[in-house]
């Protein structure tokens, strides 16, 4: 791998079947070197299957895939030398110590023991686990395990780090610590691929992302462009005592881009949220509660995956 191509992962018509089940149904994407690329989608959207194909652990069923300039079907082992994987389930050896977990993982890459020792010291610091170096993984909290798994993935100085739901199940503090560490990696030129079903995480971390649903990509772009392209910039959420949302939507007519009923509230999308709220009040309607906010990926997701009740 002498010449570093700008595109580190390229997929065309990528598919994955498990017997009759089509987990990934033909997707196209390309990931640039040095960016943070996100796969956003609900559970079962095909994100993990895609990650496993990119990390050369699972063969693709059809389509084209190039990772680090090579075909995983032919040189999986060689490609994996440049990848650090943070799997969803950690796959840490819970009976071994923190340090032993780092050590053996480094050995899998055939890194000399001396080099591993030096690197592990810094990585433990990075993961804030220095004082836990000799504890069994069994005794670590969820956040500590996650940080250890990230540190482990970095032992081989990879150019591509793949994180499958890096913050699922963590408390807010632990999540922010993980995010902060990922920013550091990005600053030093590591390419990151992240899957998540947290919209705020995708918005915070990703330079570009794709939205996946039922094995297909249903939207792509930067977080901001996705929001502006797909839904409007702002949202007004209102709760009405009588719950008669359909007639309100009728009366607002062309003044809003779109409206959606979510459970017991109505979301109205438009360029200027305050203006819409004024309009509602001018119609003589007094909502039980109201909120004007910027549109988020959550709204994009609801729109793209059709998980909304009415337009």
């Amino acid at each position: 791998m002498d010449v570093l191509p700008d595109v580190i992962v390229e997929a065309r018509g990528l598919q994955k079947f498990f017997g009759e089940v089509e987990a990934v149904r033909g997707i196209d994407f390309s990931i640039q070197r040095g960016e943070v690329f996100g796969f956003l989608g609900p559970n079962g959207a095909g994100k993990t299957s895609t990650m496993r194909m990119i990390s050369c652990m699972s063969p693709r069923s059809a389509g084209k895939l190039l990772v680090r300039g090579h075909d995983p079907a032919e040189s999986g082992s060689e490609i994996r030398r440049g990848i650090g994987l943070v799997p969803q389930d950690d796959a840490l050896d819970s009976e071994m110590s923190v340090l032993d977990n780092l050590h053996i993982y480094g050995r899998y890459f055939d890194i000399p023991r001396k080099e591993i020792r030096a690197r592990a010291k810094v990585l433990l610091e990075f993961a804030q686990l220095t004082d836990r170096a000799d504890s069994k993984v069994d005794n670590l909290s969820g956040g500590m395990r996650r940080r250890l798994t990230i540190a482990r993935a970095l032992i081989s100085r990879p150019e591509l780090v793949i994180l499958d739901e890096p913050t699922t199940g963590l408390d807010p503090q632990a999540r922010h610590l993980v995010w902060e560490r990922l920013y550091q990696l990005r600053r030093e030129g590591v390419t990151l691929i992240i899957t998540t079903h947290y919209m705020d995480e995708a918005e915070q971390l990703c330079d570009r992302l794709v939205v996946m649903d039922r094995g297909l990509i249903v939207g792509a772009g930067t977080p901001r462009s996705l929001i502006e392209k797909t839904v409007a910039r702002e949202v007004v959420e209102v709760r009405l005592d009588d719950g008669n949302y359909l007639s309100l939507v009728d009366r607002l007519g062309d003044h809003i881009d779109r409206a959606e009923i979510l459970g017991d509230r109505l979301c109205c999308y438009g360029e200027d949220g305050d203006q819409i709220l004024d309009l509602i009040l001018a119609l003589g309607i007094h909502p039980a509660s109201s909120l004007v906010r910027r549109a988020t990926l959550e709204d994009v997701f609801l729109f793209l995956t059709g998980r909304s009740l009415v337009d």
Binding site: M1, S77, D89, L92, D93, I104, Y108
Partner: protein
């Protein structure tokens, strides 16, 4: 957030170049490291239990047998019961250790510790995962058989230089069971199968493959059946080697039988490992 003390560029990608020649050796390292913390538990079943069997059966029960038949019974190959039973217990223990090492640890590496999955995310390939683990089982079998032959010598249950040939023979016997078992462990989903296999397959093999008595003691039809079992071939091979019969055609037959078990196991295991680890 506190600023970290690391050199700038610490995370800058630098992928190692050059060929990695023997990836399975890297997978083998995992099992060494793992053994360092778990040896206490396994020392009982690998070293102490076979010795207990040798003492109880060879010396205790042997006392009764020698009392009845004398110490040079033709039926026991003109030796004492102790010298008859020692190679039997050796190969039967190798079988049990092979089965144990290829059942819970394999399932654990797939389901609980997930160490196979961790290996598969690195340059290690699925076949390396398999060969690394099998290499570990081979080493462990060899070490156990070596120690047991040593202990048998201390009991005067074998004659030493030639009894050393029993070590590779018993190791092969253990592998003949371990490799197909590893294949099966990667295939099955429920660990309840292990106790069924142990109770309905391994225990009968342990008792009816000529370990504790010559097959002639069994009724005719059972005798024929017993001759087809892999443990019978292992026991007979060890017994022949221990009594100084080295290069005989029958020995070659036993070795061929056991080697076929290993080879078939490898073919089967490559299939089940690939299916389980590359989903």
């Amino acid at each position: 957030m506190t600023e970290l003390e690391y050199a700038p560029g610490f995370f800058t990608p630098r992928v190692r170049q050059g060929r990695i020649r023997t990836r399975w050796l890297l997978a083998l390292e995992y099992w060494f490291l793992q053994y360092r913390r778990a040896w206490r538990g396994s020392i009982l079943s690998t070293f102490v239990f076979p010795t207990l069997y040798l003492a109880s059966m060879g010396l205790g029960l042997g006392g009764l047998v020698n009392h009845h038949l004398g110490t040079h019974a033709a039926i026991l190959g003109n030796g004492s019961y102790l010298t008859f039973v020692a190679p039997g217990i050796l190969s039967a223990s190798a079988m049990q250790i092979g089965i144990n090492e290829a059942s819970w640890p394999v399932m654990g590496a797939i389901r609980w510790q997930r160490s196979y999955h961790a290996q598969c995310a690195t340059p290690i390939r699925i076949t390396d995962v398999l060969y690394g683990h099998l290499a570990w089982i081979t080493l462990k079998l060899f070490a156990t058989c070596l120690v047991f032959v040593g202990i048998s010598a201390a009991f005067r249950a074998n004659s030493l230089p030639r009894a050393l040939f029993e070590i590779p023979a018993a190791t092969l016997t253990g592998l003949g069971f371990a490799v197909p078992m590893a294949a099966l462990s990667a295939h099955i989903k429920n660990d309840a199968a292990f106790s069924t296999i142990n109770r309905l397959l391994i225990v009968p093999l342990f008792l009816f493959s000529g370990t504790f008595f010559p097959l002639a003691q069994l009724p005719g039809s059972l005798q024929v059946l017993a001759r087809f079992t892999p443990l019978y071939h292992g026991v007979t091979l060890c017994r022949a080697l221990g009594s100084g019969q080295l290069m005989t055609l029958t020995n070659l037959g036993h070795v061929a039988y056991l080697a076929t078990m290993v080879a078939a196991g490898v073919v089967f295991a490559r299939k089940t490992y690939t299916r389980r680890l590359s989903r």
